[in-house]
């Protein structure tokens, strides 16, 4: 370890614990020195410190050594007293305040990074005023009575040569009433070394009188103790010096030059010599002498075994003395005090061994006497002596700790002493690099006085910083604690300084609670000092404090805005954290040749549109097949490099703004920052590629004010973000002039007072963009850079009256409005619809007609029916050639909507058009429309059809309708079969089946109807009028005759039916054995103005059998016969109908054994499989509709009969040939031998179709060319007659 004397504490001690010289002077002396702007002591002070005095000294045991450094402390007698506490406090406060002003960090300087703080040396980082402060603190307890080192060793009496009766003046000076109380109280030996000086001012004339006085003095006081001091030799007061020795004694260097201006070099030399003389020839020998004397005394009374015993015994006897907090008073005569003086003198003369032995001796005495203050003082000195001896570290610490705690035990009186002791202790620890312990001592020193505590805490924090390894977090924490205390004492600048120091610790960590608090307070304090700029800078850091509690967030924001308002101006902030801009979310929507009718259309993936429009858009190569080819090439080159947008058209940018707070914020004037350069200066693309923050700020502020004010127009929007809300702001910019436009960033205003900017980082976007599909090759270009081209006509389209939510089956007519605001005509319009099942393009002439009444069947039969050609391949609809839309005219085109199936559906419409003006860069554009349609379930319709048990070509059908809606009620209007092959009639009048008008929500309806096949053989060449659908194809299901039926063969219905079939995967081929139904219902529309029409299509409902051969057995149901006479012969007739288009051969074979159960109902199983949309309804469970089911049941019952109860008679096999769509009749006969009930079904029918080699049949694969059917059940009851 280094020499303790050269340590910080060592220097401190050699400065502080030095002999005190009491100065007594007459007013005239003071007057003389005042001419130099100095008091007498100030005049002498610079010459009291001797760095190289080299005085030989002997220890008490006659060991010689030399003193190199020495210092005297001069005090006026009046100052030798315990300082007034209040005055001291004010002084200390001044020190701190002044330091605060001086050390206040530069506003511009950022808090140091923690690495630099760590790397810097102690002296650089540690504020220098700490030493001054600590010194002041130590001085508050100087001249204590229990310590001797502040007691004057010598007395300097100064009388001016102008003083009358100098000798008596000297005597008067050392008068008791002028002497300090220490001497008067007897705490100090009044017999001290006296030195007499006569001060002569050379300006007052020659020193004759002074020498006279001196001789007089010498006679009176002794030759050695007197001295003449001549000052002010320089008359004109213009002495120039290289180095003013008095510079340090006046803190404010205002009259720096005047200090000592009358002192010539001789004067200074004289001063120097006289002071050196005083110390080396008088004071040091005097002290040496005194040490010797005292040591002898102490040795005589206290040293040695006998004396110790005696002393112990004597002290024991005093034990009953009541505890006096200050301990017994020791006068200068007492042995204890003499030992103390001895120790202190030895310490001051650096004879530490001697000092230590005496202190040790003394401390036991004081301890036994319970003189705690004295004891603590001695312990303190022991600690220091140990330190200076650099012997036992532990002992030094132990002593200091002991002293410290003993002082503290004394209560408030000892507190300041404890502080001094603590400061010394800290220095001891610091000198030994025990910084952590030092910090804890600092922490213990910090007492009630908040200001002092603050400084102590700050010093403690630096100890943590300097300890190895550095305890940075503790450093930060203690700085924060210190800052809080500073703030409490209104030392705002100190508070800011400490907090800024702490900030360097917390910077970059994720301890946001702490960080926010630090920033917040710094901001507030800067605002308090009126430095709003810095205040706001710090406040900005805490704005995005989503992790804080709501009340804290409110506090932060309120204070922030208060600060901003106080400044009275708006601030431009580059990195405003509120709201959070999600740069990754930036989405740019612009229109080149692709235009969009609505926002939703833009959100559809480009890939979808691309494939959807594939068959509409001409290939790029075909586009350039004219004289513009070269132009086109050039264009595509540019086209590849950047995005194209059209002048006057809007570029939309979607940006996500997020409010991380729990309190709403208002964001206004959100707009895009853009840069426009007219002309295609593609030559220098790098120019704009990197815009730094300053440029951004300039751009953002200038905005529209710039020279190119009219070149683009950036729209502004205002938002209010609720707690935690994320809003996608849709910003827009319109370029007005051709050239290039680059979107640089976004700007906004928070609560109308703070402007924020955010740059769209093109790197991030580029990366994101590279993943996109549009132009993956384009990696070098800027996503946000646009080539603005000349304005082009743009078609606008809108579908009117398209509802968002409809019930399934709802059929409406919509109108598509097309508008072209420009005067350039558009041509070659084409349209494509994504879901023809939902959306159908009508003819223009239907626009004038009223819907839905135009669908109604006309009463007058005069109208010639025109069969509708179904438009199978019409995926792309071309508008008529002569249609030209231009000049703000609108064109309405009908569309039909039918909500075919429940669910959410996206309908896409693309309209392709070419620009009439051939000179434009773009040849064509497309308009994309997208609509979402939510379809709710409405009516469920299901049909079941079975063959009529007793009539050929007739079928019984059941229709079940359930209202699946929750509130809507429908009026079932009409049931129609599609085509002209079937006739429908109700079995019962509708009002008996369902008397109510409306089918309420949840209600079900079943009705039975008869279906008759009226198919006739016709040739294709026949008059088409014969295809007029029969009137009977429709039945009215509504009561009352008022309303007309709808014609299901009219255009939209037919088309929709076609697409419905297509959707269900059914070929358009007719099938004899299936029926398509359309159920039309109505409901009041929402606005009560009209009715909504709903059409429900049930396709391919199978009739009873899949075979083209229908047959029926007819005969008596009950026969009465007398079996006693004869067996019974019963004649039956079988009617066979060929429903197919070709000739069929039918072979009937009978067999007498009972039919097996398995084969019984093949037909039935087929039919039940074809029961389209059948739903199991509990209500209807009991109603036996299907005869098959009954047959199944009875067949099971009857089959166990082992003997066939009847036999077929007559021919057992019949073969007939049937022409297409014709019927025939075959006679059958059975013989019954006993009465009973018989199921005559044990026959089978084999059929085969001739000429079924038609291509069609094979292709469809649906028809059977041959097959076998088991017989239908036919029950016959034979009764015994009589």
């Amino acid at each position: 370890m280094a020499d303790p004397a050269s340590s910080n504490l060592g220097r401190m001690l050699t400065d502080e614990i030095t002999p005190v010289v009491m100065v007594l002077r007459t007013p005239l002396v003071e007057e003389a020195t005042r001419k130099n702007g100095l008091s007498f002591i100030e005049l002498l002070n610079p010459f009291c410190a001797f760095n190289n005095i080299d005085v030989p000294v002997r220890t008490a045991s006659d060991q010689p050594y030399r003193l190199q450094k020495f210092k005297l402390r001069l005090f006026y007698a009046s100052d030798i007293a315990q300082p007034n506490i209040e005055v001291a406090k004010v002084r200390i406060k001044q020190v701190i305040t002044r330091a605060g002003e001086k050390d206040f960090p530069e506003v511009s300087s950022n808090p140091l990074a923690i690495e630099t703080v760590l790397g810097a040396t102690q002296h650089k980082v540690l504020p220098s005023w700490f030493q001054v402060f600590n010194q002041e603190l130590v001085h508050t307890v100087s001249f204590a009575e229990h310590e001797a080192f502040d007691h004057p060793v010598a007395c300097l009496l100064a009388v001016s040569s102008k003083d009358e009766e100098s000798i008596s003046k000297f005597v008067d000076l050392f008068n008791t009433n002028q002497l300090p109380s220490l001497i008067n109280d007897g705490a100090m030996d009044p017999k001290i070394l006296k030195h007499f000086v006569v001060v002569h001012d050379n300006q007052d004339g020659m020193p004759d009188r002074a020498t006279k006085v001196l001789t007089e003095m010498r006679n009176t006081f002794g030759a050695n103790n007197c001295r003449l001091l001549c000052i002010n030799s320089s008359r004109d007061g213009s002495v120039e010096r290289q180095e003013n020795p008095w510079a340090s004694c006046k803190s404010d260097g205002s009259q720096f030059q005047q200090l000592g201006c009358f002192l010539s070099l001789d004067d200074v030399d004289e001063l120097k010599n006289s002071m050196q003389d005083l110390s080396s020839k008088h004071i040091i020998p005097y002290m040496e002498q005194k040490i010797r004397v005292l040591n002898q005394q102490v040795s005589a009374t206290r040293k040695g075994f006998r004396n110790q015993i005696k002393n112990l015994w004597w002290r024991k006897g005093k034990e009953d003395v009541p505890d006096n907090p200050n301990g017994p008073t020791y006068t200068f005569n007492s042995v204890e005090f003499q030992i103390r003086v001895l120790g202190d003198y030895a310490f001051m003369l650096r004879d530490y061994e001697l000092a230590l032995s005496n202190y040790r001796l003394l401390s036991t005495d004081y301890k036994l006497d319970k003189a705690w203050k004295h004891y603590a003082g001695v312990q303190e000195m022991m600690g220091l002596t140990y330190f200076m001896l650099d012997q036992s570290r532990k002992d030094a610490e132990y002593c200091m700790e002991n002293a410290f705690s003993t002082y503290l035990k004394l209560g408030s009186s000892g507190h300041r002493n404890a502080t001094r002791c603590g400061l010394w202790w800290v220095e001891i620890l610091k000198a030994r690099d025990q910084h952590k312990d030092a910090a804890s001592v600092y922490f213990r020193i910090s007492g009630e006085e908040p200001l002092h505590s603050a400084v102590m805490l700050e010093q403690a924090s630096y100890c943590y910083l300097f300890s190895t390894p550095p305890l940075l977090r503790k450093y930060g924490f203690h700085l924060v604690l210190a800052g809080d205390l500073y703030k409490k004492c209104d030392q705002v600048k100190h508070a800011i300084r400490t907090y800024r120091g702490a900030l360097s610790v917390f910077k970059g960590t994720t301890w946001n609670h702490i960080k926010d608090q630090v920033h917040f307070h710094i901001g507030k304090w800067y605002a308090f000092l009126g430095m709003s700029d810095v205040a706001i800078e710090h406040m900005l850091e805490i704005l995005a404090c989503g992790h804080q509690s709501k009340s804290t967030q409110e506090l932060f924001l309120r204070d922030f805005f208060q600060v901003v308002q106080n400044t009275g101006k708006t601030f431009d902030v580059l990195k405003l954290q509120l709201p959070v801009i999600n740069v990754n979310s930036v989405k740019v929507v612009f229109e080149d040749h692709r235009t969009y009718a609505s926002e939703t259309a833009t959100s559809v993936k480009e890939g979808f549109w691309h494939s959807f429009e594939e068959d509409m858009i001409p290939l790029l190569s075909s586009m350039r097949s004219n004289w513009l080819e070269s132009h086109g090439k050039n264009f595509t080159q540019k086209y590849k490099e950047s995005n194209i947008c059209v002048a006057g058209e809007v570029i939309r940018v979607h940006v996500e703004l997020k409010n991380p707070l729990q309190i709403p914020i208002s964001v206004s004037n959100v707009s895009l920052i853009c840069e426009h350069s007219s002309g295609s200066d593609e030559t220098n693309p790098d120019l704009n590629s990197s815009i730094d923050n300053d440029q951004l700020r300039k751009l953002a502020i200038n905005g529209k004010i710039g020279a190119e004010a009219s070149s683009f127009l950036s729209g502004e929007i205002d938002l209010r973000l609720g707690a935690g809300e994320t809003v996608v702001a849709q910003l827009s910019v319109i370029a007005n002039i051709e050239g290039t436009l680059e979107i640089v960033g976004v700007r906004w205003k928070l609560s109308g007072s703070v402007s924020g900017f955010c740059k769209f980082d093109s790197d991030i976007l580029k990366k994101k963009f590279a993943r996109g599909k549009r132009k993956s090759k384009k990696s070098s270009g800027n996503y946000l850079k646009f080539l603005v081209i000349k304005s082009l006509p743009k078609l606008e389209g809108f579908v009117h009256h398209l509802p968002e939510t409809v019930y399934a089956g709802d059929m409406r007519r919509l109108s598509l409005e097309l508008r072209n605001p420009s005067n350039t005509p558009l041509k070659n319009l084409k349209m494509k619809v994504s879901h023809p099942r939902f959306l159908n393009i009508g003819d223009q002439d239907v626009m004038e007609m009223e819907f839905p009444s135009c669908l109604e069947k006309k009463r007058s039969s005069a109208e010639v029916y025109v069969p509708v050609k179904t438009c199978k391949a019409r995926t792309v609809f071309s508008f008529p050639e002569d249609m030209v839309i231009c000049g703000d005219s609108t064109c309405l085109w009908p569309l039909y909507l039918r909500a075919a199936a429940p669910g959410n559906h996206s309908l896409y419409i693309t309209i392709y058009y070419e620009v009439g003006d051939a000179s434009s860069i773009m040849r064509y554009r497309v308009l994309r429309m997208h609509y979402n349609l939510e379809v709710l379930p409405s009516l469920d319709v299901s049909f079941q059809i079975s063959s009529h048990p007793s009539r050929l070509q007739e079928f019984l059908g059941r229709m079940d309708v359930i209202n699946r809606t929750s509130s809507e009620s429908f009026q079932v209007h009409q049931l129609s079969s599609v085509g002209n092959e079937w006739e429908i009639s109700l079995l019962q009048p509708m009002d008996t089946v369902f008397p109510a008008d409306f089918l309420m929500a949840g209600q079900a309806l079943s009705c039975f109807f008869k279906l008759k096949n009226c198919r006739k053989w016709v040739n294709a060449e026949d008059n088409p009028s014969s295809l007029v659908p029969s009137e009977k194809a429709d039945i009215r299901l509504v009561c009352g005759n008022g309303e007309a039926l709808f014609d299901t063969s009219r255009l939209p219905l037919v088309d929709f039916h076609h697409y419905e079939r297509l959707h269900q995967g059914i070929s358009d081929q007719d099938h004899q054995t299936t029926v398509d139904f359309i159920l039309i219902s109505q409901s009041q529309s929402d606005d009560k103005s009209g009715i909504n029409i709903f059409s429900h299509h049930a396709c391919d409902c199978s009739v009873g059998s899949s075979s083209p051969i229908w047959w029926l057995i007819e005969g008596p149901g009950t026969v009465t016969h007398n079996f006693a006479v004869d067996f019974c012969e019963i004649k039956l007739k079988m009617f066979i109908h060929n429903s197919s288009d070709v000739t069929a051969s039918v072979h009937i074979s009978t067999f007498d054994s009972a039919p097996t159960i398995d084969s019984l109902s093949t037909g039935a199983s087929v039919s039940s499989a074809n029961e389209a949309g059948w739903r199991d309804l509990s209500v209807l469970n009991d109603i036996k509709v299907t005869s098959d089911a009954v047959g199944n049941h009875s067949g099971k019952l009857l089959s166990p009969a082992s003997v066939s109860p009847f036999i077929w008679s007559g021919s057992s096999s019949n073969r007939v040939t049937l022409e297409p769509l014709s019927s025939t009749e075959i006679a059958l006969q059975i013989c019954v031998f006993s009465p009973g009930t018989y199921d005559v079904s044990n026959y089978s029918l084999h059929w085969s179709l001739f000429g079924s080699g038609d291509e069609d049949d094979k292709e469809t694969g649906l028809r059977l060319s041959s097959g076998t059917c088991e017989g239908h059940s036919y029950y016959l009851t034979v009764l015994q007659q009589g």
Partner: protein, 143 residues
């Protein structure tokens, strides 16, 4: 009474910090926890007492402040758990028991596939579990 528990990640970033006091002293407790990391670092870097404490996760009392006692625990993944208590005489066994239960809860919380390692633990279940552990702290010794 336990006033604060915290889990601190490898980079000394707070993963979870929760105070259990009525008073509004969250900031102070944050500071205390933050400071105690210094001590943890110190202990980990200068293992003076090696040997039996070599693989010990429990770090013992980190430092006593005026009103609090701070205990520390270091997992194998260098995640620190800090416990701040106002109890004056705390049994080591109780603290150990607390930390082992807290550790288990922490492991369960970070095993959640939706938890991002190194980010704050926001699981409500974890918070409830910690609250229960805190509530039951010291009960085993008394009853």
């Amino acid at each position: 009474m336990i006033v604060c528990v915290a889990a601190v990640g490898q980079q000394n970033n707070p993963l979870y910090i929760q105070s259990f006091t009525e008073a509004d002293d969250a900031l102070k407790l944050h500071h205390i926890v933050h400071c105690s990391l210094d001590v943890v670092d110190e202990r980990v870097n200068n293992p003076k007492k090696s040997g039996p404490t070599l693989n010990e996760t429990f770090l013992g009392m980190l430092y006593p402040t005026e009103n609090y006692k701070v205990y520390g625990y270091l997992t194998n993944t260098k995640v620190k758990f800090i416990l701040v208590t106002t109890d004056l005489d705390v049994r080591d066994a109780d603290v150990r028991n607390f930390f082992s239960r807290f550790h288990a809860a922490y492991v369960d919380a970070v095993s959640n596939p939706f938890h991002v390692p190194g980010k704050k633990i926001t699981s409500r279940i974890f918070a409830d579990r910690v609250r229960n552990i805190v509530k039951s702290f010291g009960l085993s010794s008394t009853g």
